[in-house]
Amino acid sequence: MEFSRRDTLALGLGAAALTVLPIRALAAADDAIAAFTGGADVAEGGVTLTAPEIAENGNTVPISVEAEGAAEIMVLAMGNPTPGVATFKFGELAGAHSASTRIRLAGTQDVVAIAKMADGSFAKASSTVKVTIGGCGG
């Protein structure tokens, strides 16, 4: 394993982000969730979040979300300095209530998807995505 200065700095920052940011980031994430749900209860299940267990490249992690009957699905990267990733809105005529995108992750963290259903209820799913140096498998 060789690490360029840039990688070293990036990893150093990632580690710092992991140790320092969660309090601020989680607070920001909680605020975002509260704004989205209006403080309503959020049930587990009913949302499918597909994300890799370990990111091949933390700068572009493919994820997809699906929730039958959802009006909106919000995606959050809980450990990022800015946790909000996207909110997908589905019209009444939407054929499928699913969406895919790629997100950047500052380090190992949970990705959360919260769906607002047509009846006004909320459901969520979460998945831990690990961002690692790698290099020694075999």
Binding site: T8, N57, C136, G138
Partner: protein
């Protein structure tokens, strides 16, 4: 009426009996100097389908010595479970006598003495004899290669995998999956795969740009054997772009992709598959988790973590078969498939004792042809060893200790790092070390030996990161290698802690001082996954070091203190 589960359990017991008595017999027969090819191949053909599994050959065409690990720690649900059982505990679990051929093949104790008694193992010409013998009893047996085939030797490196393709084609496999093959670079992999006369499988091999299944690899192949429709699904190593250099195959993405696996199983069943076989390069613990989570897989042929198990492991109604590495074993699995489902099985892990099993003349000729242009270079004697050189073990092996010594001395470094790979044969005390032997434990397409400065803090971060790849309690977050080997530095590891808290007491061995997080240290290593790494090739570094020493010796390595095992 007997349920399917009952059938499986009855067969399991029968299989265990066959296995156990087989092992006991070998011990007795060997004591009488009568271990024969017929004993090794003896098998009462069962049911209507036969599977032959070989995996993780790592380009070992010729017989070798291969010492199994002493230290192989399981965490979480895998603690104390196979394959995380070694030595005397392993022999007790399977009723294997000390000093028996099975003890030599499957455990590490008294390795040097037993190696002298029982000789080398493996050799694809011997493997061919075993395959032919199975095909004589069951002509339509499926031969399945679990991958890590086109990597790991002098000839494989210089022919970019062509030697292995030629020899494996002579064995006529029916399907294959992949890992180290991709380190040949995607252009070469695409070229070789396009010419394969058998199925190249990987349901988790995706196009990186579109995040869709790759057009170059099928998720599964349907076969009809013994009147049974069989779907063989492939699972490539999930973490290739992380454990190996992503820049060498940027068009491809992998991952575990459990949901897609379930979709493919369902699709194959909808097409009429009565038997679902997963040819996997997941690693054993990942396969165990997958067997529990994905419905409908009958047999998992498990590769990657190089485990050799004399009996299948049962998870729900799925049997998992582990067939070792480096050409040392072949598994035969006979199945009774009736009324659209697996009713029972009989299994044997066949150790390839090279002095007992006759080489197949035709395949031997193919092997010789691949090696002929390189024989002179490969056979050059570089030095001798006083001590047993081996690699397997979670934290160190004497081959890696020697490689780290070479890096520190040839590259004038404070600390050396060597990747925790599990391939590479062993060398007995008193044996010559040839150039081929060095390449067998070092050859790869990114072997440059770097030399760079790292802070103590960063070295700590690396150890924590690698430790979590090995000791994360969720198998889906494990990458299947061993701990990065460290020369010139000691440390303590508490395997049951979380990432960031496992590693402590980092000590620079040459001064006995604690590693200073803020200070820079000169680190030499090899197998960097970063593009543009510069340095001499690791096999040249090791060759120069051994040549200077003449006869090498490796002191016992006590620099890693393990807590919580």
């Amino acid at each position: 009426m007997i349920s399917r589960r009952d059938f499986l359990q009855v067969s399991m017991a029968a299989s265990a009996l066959t296995g156990a008595s087989g092992f006991g017999n070998w011990a007795r027969l060997a004591a009488q100097q009568k271990l024969t090819q017929d004993d090794l191949l003896q098998f009462d053909t069962f049911g209507n389908v036969s599977l032959i599994h070989i995996t993780d050959i790592h380009a070992q065409l010729k017989p070798i010595y291969f010492r199994e690990p002493e230290i192989n720690i399981g965490v979480g649900d895998a603690k104390g479970q196979v394959p995380h059982v070694t030595g005397a505990d392993f022999r007790k679990m399977y009723g294997i006598n000390d000093g028996s051929p099975s003890a030599y093949a499957l455990t590490y104790n008294d390795f040097t003495a037993l190696a002298k008694e029982y000789g080398k193992v493996g050799g694809l010409d011997r493997v061919a004899t075993v395959i032919n013998s199975i095909r004589a009893e069951r002509p339509d047996a499926l031969l399945l290669d679990g991958g890590d085939t086109w990597h790991g030797s002098y000839t494989c490196y210089h022919t970019e995998g062509q030697d292995m393709v030629n020899v494996m084609n002579a064995l006529k496999p029916d399907a294959m999956t992949f890992h180290w093959e991709f380190t040949l670079g995607s252009a070469r992999v695409d070229e070789l795969v396009a010419g394969l006369p058998f199925a190249a499988l990987g349901q988790n091999i995706f196009d990186a740009e579109w995040d869709e299944p790759s057009e170059n690899f099928k998720s599964y192949e349907m076969f009809e054997r013994g009147g049974v429709k069989i779907a063989v699904l492939g699972q490539a190593f999930p973490y290739m772009p992380i454990a190996n250099p992503r820049w060498m195959f940027p068009e491809y993405s992998f991952g575990i992709r459990e949901e897609h696996m379930q979709e493919m199983v369902n699709e194959a069943k909808a097409e009429g598959a009565e038997l679902i076989v997963l040819l996997s390069h997941n690693g054993f613990d990942v396969d165990k988790k997958m067997a529990g989570n994905v419905e409908g897989i009958d047999v998992i042929l498990s590769g990657h973590t190089h485990d050799a198990l004399p009996e299948p492991v049962l998870v729900g109604e799925t049997i998992i078969i582990a067939s070792g590495s480096n050409g040392k074993f072949v598994s035969r699995v006979d199945l009774d498939v009736r009324d659209g489902r697996m009713m029972g099985f009989r299994h044997k892990l066949i150790p390839i004792f090279s002095d007992v099993i006759q080489p197949d003349a035709e395949v031997a000729k193919v092997i010789d042809a691949q090696r002929a242009p390189h024989e002179e270079a490969m056979n050059e004697v570089i030095g001798q060893t006083e001590d047993l050189l081996y690699r397997r073990g979670n934290f160190n092996g004497s081959w890696d200790d020697l490689i780290c010594d070479a890096l520190i001395s040839e590259r004038e470094a404070d600390i050396a790092m060597s990747p925790g790979v599990r391939w590479g044969p062993s060398i007995l005390p008193g044996q010559n070390i040839t150039r081929e032997d060095i390449w067998n434990v070092t050859s790869m397409s990114y072997g440059e030996a770097y030399r760079s400065e790292m802070t103590g803090e960063f070295i700590h971060v690396i150890l924590e990161d690698v430790a979590d790849n090995l000791f994360n309690t969720d198998p889906y977050y494990q990458q299947g290698g061993d701990m990065v080997r460290i020369g010139g530095m000691g440390y303590k590891i508490d395997i049951n802690k979380k990432q960031g808290e496992r590693i402590s007491d980092l000590t620079l061995l040459k001064t006995g001082e604690a590693i200073d997080p803020a200070k820079n240290y000169v680190v030499a290593g090899w197998a960097s996954v970063n593009e543009g790494t510069e340095g001499p090739q690791i096999w040249d570094v090791v060759e120069n070091h051994i040549r200077k020493q003449g006869t090498v010796s490796v002191a016992p390595n006590n620099s890693v203190t393990v807590v919580g095992a």
